[in-house]
Symmetry: C2
Subunit: 436 residues, 2 copies
Amino acid sequence: MKIVFYHYGIPSIDIMKKELLEGIEVGDFIKIIKGTKVYKGTLMPHHRFSKEELINLKREDGYNIGIDIDESTDIELIKRRKKSLEEDIEELELDKNKPKISILGTGGTIASYVDYDTGAVHPAQSAEEMLYSNPEIGEICFPSVEILFSKLSEDIEPKDWIIIADKVLDEFRSGAEGVVIAHGTDTMSYTSAALSFLLKYVPKPIVLVGSQRSSDRPSSDSHLNLLSAIEVAKSELNGVFVVMHDDMSDDRCAIHRGTKVRKMHTSRRDAFQSINTEPIGSIYPNNCEIEISGHISEIEEAELCKYGSIEPNVSLIYSNPSLNEDELRSAGEKNKGIVVAGTGLGHVKTQLIPVIKEIVENGTHVVMTSQCLYGTVNCNVYSSGRKLIEAGVIPCGDMLPETALVKMMWALTLDEDLRDTMKSNIAGELTERRVR
Amino acid sequence: MKIVFYHYGIPSIDIMKKELLEGIEVGDFIKIIKGTKVYKGTLMPHHRFSKEELINLKREDGYNIGIDIDESTDIELIKRRKKSLEEDIEELELDKNKPKISILGTGGTIASYVDYDTGAVHPAQSAEEMLYSNPEIGEICFPSVEILFSKLSEDIEPKDWIIIADKVLDEFRSGAEGVVIAHGTDTMSYTSAALSFLLKYVPKPIVLVGSQRSSDRPSSDSHLNLLSAIEVAKSELNGVFVVMHDDMSDDRCAIHRGTKVRKMHTSRRDAFQSINTEPIGSIYPNNCEIEISGHISEIEEAELCKYGSIEPNVSLIYSNPSLNEDELRSAGEKNKGIVVAGTGLGHVKTQLIPVIKEIVENGTHVVMTSQCLYGTVNCNVYSSGRKLIEAGVIPCGDMLPETALVKMMWALTLDEDLRDTMKSNIAGELTERRVR
């Protein structure tokens, strides 16, 4: 009997007592007895970040748990794993009377599929793989799953935002009650901002969701996040949201406004934070409870449509003591817009102000945000700020630099005054009274 | 009797009941009786951000308070203000037996001087103005005050870091027991990082301090911060620190490691936060109490010296969906080093990796940090990270992007392997075990 422990193509060392797992394969449904405790679930491949004695079990409710095996541990086979993906999918019974939710895969850790034949984990390449990895989906909605593309989050490009927006539009027109977009976490907030601007009069929820730890890891947030996202997609909310782990507890996700959220930690599951606002609310997927605390947009009596497009030539520049005239001027020449993440209330070196004036006079727009992230740009406190306004800089209030970047890429494609658009609140990205 | 209410050169509307202030001038020491409450202090110019009925009083303990005047309010003149700055300074008695603390002014809101003749507030231009504005300084130390320059914080340049470092060295060699550097808040953490690297074997405290609200405003943090900084400068700590308001209370400042701190809010007084570590401790200046909770460096048995210099040609680039090959290649051609603030665990678009390889092969170093700010870069989780390492990128663990920028500017001037320097903890900027 062969036990295969691969992960990302790297064979794991053979760690578990072979005699204990004699006759058991990854993917089998097993029972582990340890002292007075009994655990049941599907044996997952050993994860290379886990210690050697740990068995990784996917429980029936979808959570992964890690169990330390020792001398007293006993393991029994309950049910042999399915022979093939197709066989398993055939057994999935989907109920058309449940809310119709479209689930779009774009890649990333969230929709990863564990191949029990090789042990490898890779993003789900097909609807079948996605459903096979997350059979609970069928219990809470009538899913329509489609893998749009399978990209690393850092590779999502502005043109992908358009593809996603078009697809979301199609899904709603085909009767979807909500759309869930499985996305890598690195650039999820850029995509959520883009959809917030590109889609106008959104009557229902568009929910981006990712996971910080892949679904084969004992501490994975994949299951909780995905189920939470589907529950939010089924709700009465309207607009673009990011749904991710709220804190270190395992029963709640936060619902963030798509234009006000930022990945604030490289690895923690509660990495996503609403900036300059509170999250819209919380979702407890186990009892289908949504608590709303933030402001909800009113649904407008107009038909959902795509509005504008994306201009790729916009640069995001962080002001700092080494930033010089040449670098700024060069960015001005090559781009149609520049977002400056200034210091403090929105400042750059005094010597750069004439360069900005020159850039603006040459037809490239320049907007100001703050690298502090929290708080608001205010160009009226110091004379240097007033000089920036005179040079033609557009202050962006409490808008995140990344959101301002995406908004500017969008606003440049509209037949409207860019200054007005940047200073108006379009999708919750801006507290208008704070623009000064 | 003329009452002048100017601020930043803008005349305020004449707001207070003239009869109430008949015969009283800004700068006079007065008593305000309002119902059963009595307030004593120096009448400050009216601040243009305050509402019209508010009188701004600087109490004898240095705090500013705002008092609403109404029908019941009565005001008495206690002592006419000094006729001139010189006259006031003559009365300041400095005690040579107190700890000798050097206070260096570089500009910024912290050392602002209120001119009672014009009502204008400007950065202190001389030692006299600094002491006149903050007479309490003389009560807690024997100050040696020098205004190095008077710059807006955003205008502090790399060459200024060298001037400050040289001056700090002089001050310690002249017997200072601690050095306080009054600095604008916008770029304070860049300067604190620079001093942390440029000065080696620092035996005593070097404390940078700023204020978020100028000393003429009722909610000013200037007084608390400056006194706290002096107390820390008198302490047994060694190294470079930033001392700023800790929270919304008015009795405590936090002591941050100079390489681990970042301005995280545009306007709040507790804007400065230690990132990826706790503050070193807290200081309660009113009872001269310092609570230490963080790790303190051991004092090495070697003489304080300046080490290395600053290479200005280093660029900080934030990775995002609009970043393209051209922009990155151009930065590589013009600089000796590039700090990338990657997405998530330290990523850039896959298509940019060959460009980075090319840049590194052409002799420009590239280091990786994360725009998440919190957490650590890890190039071993995904294959894209491993490709970056193969391309020659140096991962910077849990180092802040801004600190990595300053460190690289410094490390490029050393006759040492840049990779080794960037990956070693020099001044608390890096948790070494987290570099991967």
